[in-house]
């Protein structure tokens, strides 16, 4: 007996809802105006131009920090998405609908500023170069008017959450990464 394929609208709704759960309600993304466009499993991060994202008012040019933040966000979301995808498409559905899975944590991030960021929308796509069980390496390209003329590129290392560990236990060495307890508490 052959199973009927899922209706395309059902598939799209499930994927869009999962993406929405992942990136919706993240305050800093909303602050910069970053959103994500999806085609199948491919994500493109979009940074619409805003006057508040200007760093050099004379040129004018995007703030280098905004560019760095945009590329880092594209990398983190791509990683989380690539971790979520097989789980979602394997029939189990998203981990828990409406609950954001823990996000990967940035260990280090390196940005090359190839051209000044123009006062236009910017786009970024990230590629997971290597993903191990605990660490991942990601490359990101950022462009504006022309896909072939990058204005910035970046690469970084990330610590992956253990999605099976449950909330609060996603990172094995949480002690090292988390804020120090108040001085009054014994360490």
């Amino acid at each position: 007996m052959s199973r009927r394929p899922e209706p395309v609208q059902v598939v799209k709704e499930r994927r869009d809802a999962a993406l929405d759960t992942l990136v919706g309600g993240l305050p800093y993304l909303a602050f910069l105006g970053i959103r994500f466009e999806r085609r199948g499993d491919e994500l493109t991060a979009v940074l619409p131009f805003r006057d508040e994202n200007i760093g050099n008012p004379l040129l004018p040019a995007l703030h280098g920090g905004v560019t760095a933040a945009f590329l880092e966000t594209a990398a983190v979301v791509e990683l989380a998405w690539s971790q979520l995808w097989p789980q979602m498409e394997g029939g189990a559905g998203a981990a828990a609908p409406g609950v954001r899975p823990p996000l990967p944590r940035t260990i280090d991030f390196t940005v090359d500023f190839l051209r000044s960021g123009l006062p236009r929308d910017a786009y970024a796509r990230a590629v997971v170069v290597r993903q191990g069980r605990r660490y991942a390496s990601v490359r990101v390209e950022g462009w504006q008017d022309n896909r072939a003329r990058l204005f910035a590129q970046a690469s970084g290392h990330f610590m992956m959450p253990d999605l099976s560990a449950g909330p609060g236990a996603a990172f094995a060495d949480d002690e090292a990464m988390d804020p120090a307890p108040p001085a009054s508490e014994p360490r």
Partner: protein, 148 residues
């Protein structure tokens, strides 16, 4: 010019950068080749609401601005500074509710490039939150498409 006047002029410069203004960046001190800038904690700068920790991107902007300010405060830099590259190591999550302060210094400044290092910490200054190392050009780069 007194140190106070110098600091005030430098602070006005930072405030003229729209994105530095919306982040609320505050210049704490500046001297030749050095700068210290504070990023106040704010709910809208949080990366993951589950933790309340500032997004790494806000820390990147703090580091980049602080590095640029240190370069511009260097006697060899009379033009603007533009970031060529920067690497940031995130050593721990910044404590929610606390401001993050970055301190940048120029390690070496040539006629065209400045090599800069910066450290960021919250109230627990013994355990830095992040490290930055970067190279800055001493002239603004050409705009894409601008004639050579």
């Amino acid at each position: 010019m007194s140190d106070d006047q110098y600091l005030r002029i430098a602070q006005q410069f930072i405030e003229a950068l729209p994105h530095a203004r919306v982040l609320g960046l505050r210049l704490l001190s500046v001297s030749p080749g050095h700068a210290e800038i504070e990023l106040p904690w704010a709910a809208h700068l949080v990366g993951d609401p589950a933790t309340g920790v500032l997004h790494g991107g806000a820390v990147s902007t703090l580091m980049d601005t602080c590095g640029g300010a240190a370069v511009m405060a260097h006697p060899a830099a009379n033009a603007g500074a533009a970031t060529l590259d920067l690497r940031i190591d995130y050593m721990r999550a910044a404590t929610p509710g606390q401001a993050v302060r970055a301190r940048a210094e120029c390690l070496r400044v040539t006629r065209s490039v400045a090599f800069v290092r910066a450290t960021a910490s919250d109230d627990d200054v013994e355990r830095p939150v992040a490290l930055m190392q970067g190279a800055f050009t001493l002239h603004a780069p050409r705009l894409a498409g601008e004639a050579t």
